[in-house]
């Protein structure tokens, strides 16, 4: 019973951390913006806005739908749910209206791809940001 009690306390203390994962939108260093409105962030991750102000193609990198960081991007930065983003992509991709974002398996791979691909945008946990990418503020 004591074990159950302490496990419960542990769980309760963990919940606030788990439910509010700090996530940053990141971009390749040559991307010509440093901040985006929520509307534009939704349009970019929703594969509707496909070019930066200087005309270069936006390359979107994402993690799998079930990845905790992907959930955090959706809920905290875009104010929508992962299933809505997926439905939106499906509607566009299977009617020829847009291309799908590039899905990678791990956060490390996502950061590496964003750093190496001109025009790229993605996301990473705040703790893992490094100098190879630019942080984009979404407001």
């Amino acid at each position: 019973m004591r074990i159950v009690h302490w496990l419960g306390v542990l769980l309760l203390t963990c919940v606030p951390v788990l439910s509010a994962m700090a996530v940053d939108v990141i971009a390749n260093k040559d991307v010509p913006v440093s901040k985006l409105s929520v509307a534009n962030a939704r349009a970019i991750f929703g594969m509707r806005q496909v070019k930066w102000p200087d005309g270069t193609l936006i390359r979107v990198f994402v993690l799998p739908d079930t990845h905790a960081l992907h959930g955090a991007l959706c809920k905290e930065r875009l104010n929508l749910y992962p299933y809505q983003l997926r439905q939106s992509w499906d509607r566009l991709v299977y009617s020829g209206m847009a291309q799908a974002p590039t899905e990678v398996a791990t956060e490390a791979e996502l950061i590496a791809q964003v750093a190496a691909t001109p025009g790229a945008i993605g996301y990473a946990s705040r703790l893992q940001n490094n100098e190879k990418v630019r942080v984009i503020h979404v407001e």
Partner: protein, 401 residues
Amino acid sequence: MWNREMAVGMLAACCYLHGGAASADDDRLQVHGFFSQAAAHTDKNNVGGNSDGGWGLDMREMGINVSYRPNADWMLSGQALARWAGSSDEGDPRVDYAFVDHTLSSDEHGRIGVQIGKVKNPYGFYNTTRDVAHTRSGILLPQAVYIDELRNTFLAAPGISINGNHYFQDASLEWAVNFIRPEVDAEALTAFMVSRQPGHFEGQNSWLAQALWEQEGGHWRIGLTLGNVEMTYKAALPFPADLFPGNLALHTGVFSLEHNRETWSLTAEYMLTRQLRDEFIPLLPGNSFDKDSTVEAGYVQGLWRFAPRWQAYARYEALYLDRKDKNGKIFNIQSGGAVPPWQRFSRDKVVGVRYDHNSSWALSAEYHDVDGTAWLPRLDNPAAQMQQRWQMFLLQAAYRF
């Protein structure tokens, strides 16, 4: 015939281009595809082939699409599709859509573009991807609004589409206006619109338009679709072996509403379609046979994401082929008893469950309790054999990449 060769050619081009494309660094070329197989069991009437008392397995879709974006302002897209649906569709590969998309103007507030080719037509929330099982709101789309036997009227068609997206502070607007010539030469459609005849319909200049407003990232979605689809009937034989040549117009509109929360969603759509035809169906003594009538239909669906990877849904839908004759009795009298009244309406209660094993595989099961036979495929269900109250159980496995 050109459709089948074009589809095979597109498939070959896809494979060649995909094989020769550069590595993941160059994502300008993308290939996606889908496959689904369903099975239907009905206690009466036939769906997906001979399902009356057995299993109808003639319910299958497969498709492959390719998109190529050489730069931010141009995109080429195409999809080849094969579909099996009982006698209504027998698996002939065809071009589903193939068009060039050009962005006319674009900035941080939005985008306006034009598409030329065989373009996808917006109709309600689901028409543009109705053949992709993963994107449907059930194994079958609500037949009240998305009558499969009439799909050709609203499917992709040769023409031009002008469309745009606009981003506001907490909302977005998406719109499209399509000028098309629908490809309505399909036996199933002729059987549904008139009856089995040697002749066929030919699409004329038509238009379809949609505006879709999404509030707060899609917590609320509101859509309005309007359109005017024109077609002419081309007789193959002189009367009485066939009907007289004639014209048919569909003035249609759909109002769509959806509310989305984390674990549940509520969707409703309401459709009115006025069909006007001149007298190519010969007048029977003392009546004008369905010359000007309005189809009225709608549905409400609740969906609950009760566990990761699982969802359950329940839906009520109603379809009336003539809103002034909802119980079909007038049409029954006018047809001299040949058409049973329950062919003119259907009220369907649906429950279903879906399991998404991963982002590629989905399995679904669905149960229908139906009163009426308005949307049943006519080719598989002669009027004299249609039974009013019937039930259906469906299973489906779907894959996509």
